[in-house]
Symmetry: C2
Subunit: 385 residues, 2 copies
Amino acid sequence: MSAQAPHNTLLIPGPIEFDDAVLQSMSHYAESHVAPGFVKVFGETLTLVRKLFQSTNPAAQPFIISGSGTLGWDLVSANLIERGENALVLNTGYFGDSFGQCLETYGANVTHLKAPIGDRSSIEEVEQALKEKPYKLITLTHVDTSTGVLSDVKGVAQLVRRVSPDTLVIVDGVCSVGSEEIAFDEWDLDAVVTASQKAIGCPPGLSIVMTSGRAIQAAQSRKTPPGAYYASIANWLPIMQNYENNKPSYFATPPTQLVHALHTTLRQITADVPGRFAAHTEVSDKVKAAAAELGLKQLASRPECQAHGMTAMYLPEGLSPPDVLPGLLKRGVIFAAGLHKEIATKYIRFGHMGVSVTDPKRGDVDKALAALKEALAEAKQAKGL
Amino acid sequence: MSAQAPHNTLLIPGPIEFDDAVLQSMSHYAESHVAPGFVKVFGETLTLVRKLFQSTNPAAQPFIISGSGTLGWDLVSANLIERGENALVLNTGYFGDSFGQCLETYGANVTHLKAPIGDRSSIEEVEQALKEKPYKLITLTHVDTSTGVLSDVKGVAQLVRRVSPDTLVIVDGVCSVGSEEIAFDEWDLDAVVTASQKAIGCPPGLSIVMTSGRAIQAAQSRKTPPGAYYASIANWLPIMQNYENNKPSYFATPPTQLVHALHTTLRQITADVPGRFAAHTEVSDKVKAAAAELGLKQLASRPECQAHGMTAMYLPEGLSPPDVLPGLLKRGVIFAAGLHKEIATKYIRFGHMGVSVTDPKRGDVDKALAALKEALAEAKQAKGL
């Protein structure tokens, strides 16, 4: 039995349900951020981030900073690109728009390569765009939480190395890390920005960024100072290196309790990283098949661009989220409404990540699929559809 | 009996010991950041921040953002001052230096008015400095965690309104909010930057900033766009206003569990704000008298510039922190070493804030004073002093 108070099952694309052990480790008594016990846990957690990204290259550098996933965009935008340099944003939804705004805040000259809703640009289109200007960096949203569209990170990274080898490859992995495969070194990525509260299975409050040696080099060889103070790689780099070398260090107080929670969930995840991705794929296939059986069309148009940790589904004509979400809630299940501005009233989002996927004894996904079927039937009936 | 695992008592100038109820409320099950239950708690927490600051002016605006206290400096520096404008930093230690660096990162032209170690500049000196240039803002560290020096926030604010009324008065209250009196409206302050983990008694991970209508006006009438994205007032203002009006809203995912913890501790604190300040003064007087009896001189030279939530004490000649801190730890008490670069090896810091002060049944302070006496005697004997 769970140690948590009874509650509706949270199946939105983050935050997600927690394992009991994660919550328990978070309610840790007060600790100094420079005490040996915490230094060890923080250092180990940084090393576990490397494992999560299947990275063994010592030049790569993880960062764990108090903040939301959004802070990672500032870390990229204030350190890895300078005022007037070009950034290419592969835009597959809401989060591409916002990452672009963040880059512009720090002076980057941003070009959006916008895919139609539910789709992603082809490798050929990206190649074409890359040839138009020299780009300091290219960003892609691995899974856009607003649409459930999966980007081809490996394919784009290969393309960049072939046609524009100095361009930094930046992945927004907020909604993918922990549920979609990422081989950081092998794919030769430069930064993956993520957060604690999605497929990583930790409460929100940690910005997690993995960077390559090439990215660190870019930050260190800037012609102008970094554009931010709290989000400055120069300020955090020695701190992260010291903690991982078991030395206390101070720039700003880390959120000690959340770091304990992250340590616990990363130990669970890294026990079998490939197995975790396989479990997410299997459950995703099941969810998508069940949705199709209910006649629900996915936003993500083609199977190769469908995320494995969430499913965004159009509702039948005549229904909107407020017709269906209360019926789900009545059955103990929480899904999310639409988020993409142009179509928000037409679809719902089901997050299937973390313990809800890896611990089938919980029965979360089966419960959700049964509730979805009933809630849909009820809503159609109420509307006379 | 406490629900927390047995542990040494954390008496550093933050993080501090937690009340059981605070830790318990933090281990809240997974919740959507836009679900009605959480929206209500977040909205109430914002309103409780107003009470904490004894503020009733509806033009004032609290912000609660995932991040450490340092993030508040970016919020000030990226929004309330523009490139090339002047900032005056009343510098009483390590944190004045750092706030100055943050302001410079965003292009401010920073002048430090540096007080001797352990002291603060006089009102006359500040007046003199204010007359030299037009300053967009002035910052003061209410309590510098590195030295325990207390600034005269009320006096400086009065002075600014008299001699340079448009200058924004910015208080770094990371180590003061919750233990030192602050009357935000009455003193006519423009921003107080703080964090969750010191006298507020919550785990670290929340940046808390209170702003005046004048500050919001300054942010909204900038000639240039804000200098940061995550730390942009324009991005957060509607979110905070919506939550306080009980409407869900999204810019970046708030740290839901930490917000529950903050809600709990602020409800406790705001039940009697003046009583809390009185308790901190009383315990501080007791600690300072006991330190004097042990022959320990405070860093903060004069009583009027001594903080009430911490005491920084010079060790006797011939002793350094590693001679004394292990003896304290052996007795179950954790103090902090020195932090001010020039004298770090000569002093120790005792944080007396939050439940260790307001819940005398815990016996934390008496235990610490007894341990200090014994550890000092032991250290002197070992060194033949």
